[in-house]
C-alpha cells in the first residue's frame, strides 16, 4: 500500500511512516514475528494527545501482550479499525499494517529514530 516519504524505526520495534504532516505507526516485521499469531489489537482513542514513549496501543498474541509505544508526539487523527476484526493482517503484512495515524507535532523527533539500515543492524544484535 504505502510508499512513505520517510520510514523510521524505534528501539521498541515500532515503525513510523511519514506522509506530509501525518505519521503512520505500526510494529516491525521483527516484532510481529517474535509475538507470533496476533489475536487482538487495542487501538488508541481518536483525538488523544500522545507524547514520545506513551502507550499507543497493545498488540496481543495467544501467550504474549506487547505495549506499542508512540515513537513520536502528536494527536491521534486516525485509527485502523480493520484490526479490530482482522488482527492477523499484522502477521500477513506487518510493515504496511498501521495501527494509528498521528499528526506530527515535532518533526525533529524523527531524527532520533533509526533508518532501515540502522534498524536491521539493531535487530541483528538483539537476536
Amino acid at each position: 500500500m504505502n510508499e512513505f516519504e520517510i520510514k523510521k524505526y524505534s528501539t521498541e520495534h515500532e515503525w513510523v511512516g511519514v506522509d506530509g504532516n501525518k505519521a503512520y505507526i505500526g510494529i516491525s516485521e521483527f516484532a510481529a514475528n517474535s509475538l507470533g499469531e496476533i489475536v487482538y489489537v487495542e487501538l488508541p482513542e481518536l483525538g488523544s494527545e500522545l507524547n514520545v514513549g506513551d502507550v499507543l496501543g497493545v498488540v496481543e498474541s495467544v501467550k504474549a501482550a506487547s505495549d506499542v509505544y508512540s515513537p513520536i508526539s502528536g494527536k491521534v487523527v486516525e485509527i485502523n479499525e480493520e484490526l479490530t476484526d482482522n488482527p492477523e493482517i499484522i502477521n500477513e503484512d506487518p510493515e504496511n499494517s498501521w495501527i494509528a495515524v498521528l499528526e506530527i507535532s515535532d518533526p525533529a523527533q524523527l531524527d532520533e529514530l533509526m533508518d532501515e539500515k540502522e534498524y536491521e543492524e539493531y535487530c541483528a544484535e538483539e537476536e
Binding site: 487482538y40 487495542e42 496481543e60 498474541s61 495467544v62 501467550k63 504474549a64 501482550a65
Partner: protein, 446 residues
C-alpha cells in the same frame, strides 16, 4: 516410614550413589549450617489412620451441624438442598486431583465443565461473559470495583450500606491499598435510598455497587439505580444471590455492567465459611478486562471441537504487574459443584427452589409477626430472608434457641448498631413447615 513416601531405604541409597552423593545432607549443601535446624520440629507425633479419624471425629462432634440443628441462619451463607450426585461426581479423582487445565489435550473435562458453568452464569445473570469463578462473593465485589476503576479511569466508588458487611470490609481492604475511595450510600425502608445515592454521585464515581436481594433480604429496584449510575457515566455492579435469579429479573436486563455474587448456594456445603466460589460476569465491552480464568471453544488440528483457556493475555503469568488482577486460578471444584447443581435442578428445579424459599420465608415472617413478640423492621419486598425486631433481648433469645437446637438467625446489631434486637432470619426450601412452627413456638416461650 510414611505410606505416602514409596521409595525404600535401599532405593534411596541406590539413588544417592547414582547421583554421586554420600548422603542426603550433600544435597542440601547450599543451605548454610547457620540456618539449619538443629533439632526436629516441635510437632505432635504422627497419628495412625485410626487415631487420626477418632481425633477428627471428636473435633467435629464439638460443632453444631445443620443435620442436628435447625438452621435459620443466612446472612450470606445458606443451608440449601444439595443433590447427592454432586459430591459423588466432584470426588472423581480426575476432577479433584487435577491442576489448572494448562494442558488442554488432557483437561477437556475441566475445560468443558468451565464452559458450561460460564454459560449457566450468563443465563442466570443476563450478562454476555462470565469467568471461570473467583474465590468468593466478597473478593468478587472487590475485583469488580478494581475493574470499574480501570475501565473508567475514575477513583471513587459508591457502595450500598446494605451490601454484605464482609463484602464492604473486603472492598475497603482492597481499595485502601490501590488509591480508591469507597463512599457508602444509605437505605430507606431497607432498600437503597435513591436520593442519597444521587446526591453522592460525582464525576469521579467509577461505579455504584448494590446487592440484590440486599443484606436485609430486600429486593432492590435495580432499574432506577442503573439509570442513576449510567446518567453519571458510572458502571453498575450488582452482587446477587444466584438462587434468587430463578425468579427475579436478571441484572443484565436492567443495565448492570458487572454482576458478581457468592455462589455457595449452588450445591456447596456451608463448611464453616469456605471454600465457596465467587461468580463474575460482565458485558461484552468489558470482556478483555475481566479478572481470572476464562474457557473458550475452538477446534483441534482435525477440526474436532475442544476447549481451551483463552484471553490469557489479561492474566498475571503473561502481563505480570500489568495484569487485570493478581488472581492465578479459580475455585474450579466449587464451580464444578455449582455446574452440577444447576444441571440437576435445571430450568424448573431452580425456579421451584426459589419459589419454595419465598413462600416459606413469607410464611415464617407472618407467623413471627402474628405472635406479637416480633415487629416488622421494613415493609419493602423480600425474597428468602427478612429482618424482624424482637421485643426483648435478642441475644438471650438466640442462645435459648441454640439450647433447643435451633440456629435462630443473624443478630443485626453486630453490623448495624442502630438495629438493636433485630434478627435476620433466612428460610430455605429445606425448612419444613413444622420446623418453622417450632421456631415460632419456641421463640414465644423463650
Amino acid at each position: 516410614m510414611s505410606k505416602y513416601i514409596p521409595n525404600t531405604d535401599e532405593q534411596k541409597r541406590e539413588m544417592l550413589s547414582e547421583i554421586g552423593a554420600a548422603g542426603i545432607d550433600d544435597l542440601f549443601c547450599d543451605i548454610s549450617g547457620k540456618i539449619r535446624l538443629k533439632s526436629p520440629l516441635n510437632l505432635p507425633k504422627p497419628l495412625s489412620d485410626i487415631e487420626l479419624s477418632k481425633h477428627m471425629q471428636t473435633l467435629s462432634d464439638k460443632n453444631a451441624d445443620t443435620d442436628h440443628y435447625t438452621c435459620f441462619l443466612g446472612a450470606g451463607a445458606y443451608d440449601h438442598y444439595i443433590p447427592s450426585i454432586i459430591d459423588l461426581l466432584i470426588s472423581r479423582q480426575e476432577f479433584y486431583t487435577a491442576y489448572t487445565p494448562y494442558q488442554p489435550e488432557i483437561s477437556q473435562g475441566t475445560l468443558q465443565a468451565i464452559f458450561e458453568y460460564q454459560s449457566m452464569i450468563c443465563l442466570l445473570t443476563g450478562m454476555d461473559v462470565s469467568n471461570a469463578s473467583l474465590y468468593d462473593g466478597a473478593s468478587a465485589v472487590a475485583e469488580a470495583v478494581l475493574l470499574a476503576c480501570r475501565a473508567t479511569g475514575r477513583t471513587r466508588v459508591l457502595a450500598a450500606k446494605t451490601l454484605h458487611p464482609e463484602s464492604r470490609e473486603v472492598l475497603r481492604t482492597y481499595t485502601k491499598f490501590s488509591g480508591i475511595t469507597v463512599d457508602e450510600y444509605g437505605f430507606l425502608d431497607g432498600a437503597a435510598d435513591l436520593s442519597d445515592l444521587e446526591s453522592r454521585l460525582n464525576p469521579d464515581t467509577a461505579a455504584v455497587v448494590v446487592q440484590n436481594p440486599n443484606f436485609f433480604g430486600i429486593i432492590e429496584d435495580l432499574k432506577e439505580i442503573s439509570e442513576l449510575a449510567h446518567k453519571n457515566k458510572s458502571l453498575l455492579i450488582v452482587s446477587c444471590d444466584p438462587i434468587s435469579l430463578a425468579l427475579l429479573k436478571p441484572p443484565g436486563e436492567l443495565g448492570a455492567d458487572i454482576v458478581v455474587g457468592e455462589g455457595q448456594s449452588l450445591g456447596n456445603p456451608l463448611s464453616f465459611g469456605g471454600p465457596y466460589l465467587g461468580f463474575f460476569a460482565a458485558t461484552k465491552q468489558l470482556m478483555r478486562r475481566i479478572p481470572g480464568r476464562i474457557a473458550g471453544e475452538t477446534v483441534d488440528l482435525s477440526g474436532r471441537r475442544g476447549f481451551v483457556l483463552t484471553l490469557q493475555t489479561r492474566e498475571q503469568h503473561i502481563r505480570r504487574e500489568k495484569a487485570t488482577s493478581n488472581i492465578c486460578t479459580n475455585h474450579a471444584l466449587n464451580a464444578l459443584a455449582a455446574t452440577i447443581y444447576l444441571t440437576a435442578m435445571g430450568k424448573n428445579g431452580l425456579r421451584e427452589v426459589a419459589e419454595l424459599c419465598a413462600q416459606k420465608a413469607h410464611y415464617a415472617y407472618s407467623r413471627l409477626i402474628e405472635t406479637g413478640k416480633f415487629s416488622p423492621v421494613f415493609t419493602s419486598p423480600f425474597f428468602k430472608e427478612f429482618a424482624v425486631k424482637y421485643r426483648g433481648d435478642v441475644r438471650k433469645l438466640a442462645s435459648r434457641l441454640l439450647e433447643q437446637k435451633i440456629l435462630a438467625g443473624y443478630i443485626m446489631e453486630n453490623d448495624y448498631p442502630e438495629m438493636d434486637n433485630v434478627l435476620l432470619v433466612a428460610v430455605t426450601e429445606k425448612r419444613a413447615k413444622h420446623e418453622i412452627d417450632t421456631l415460632v413456638e419456641r421463640a414465644v416461650c423463650a
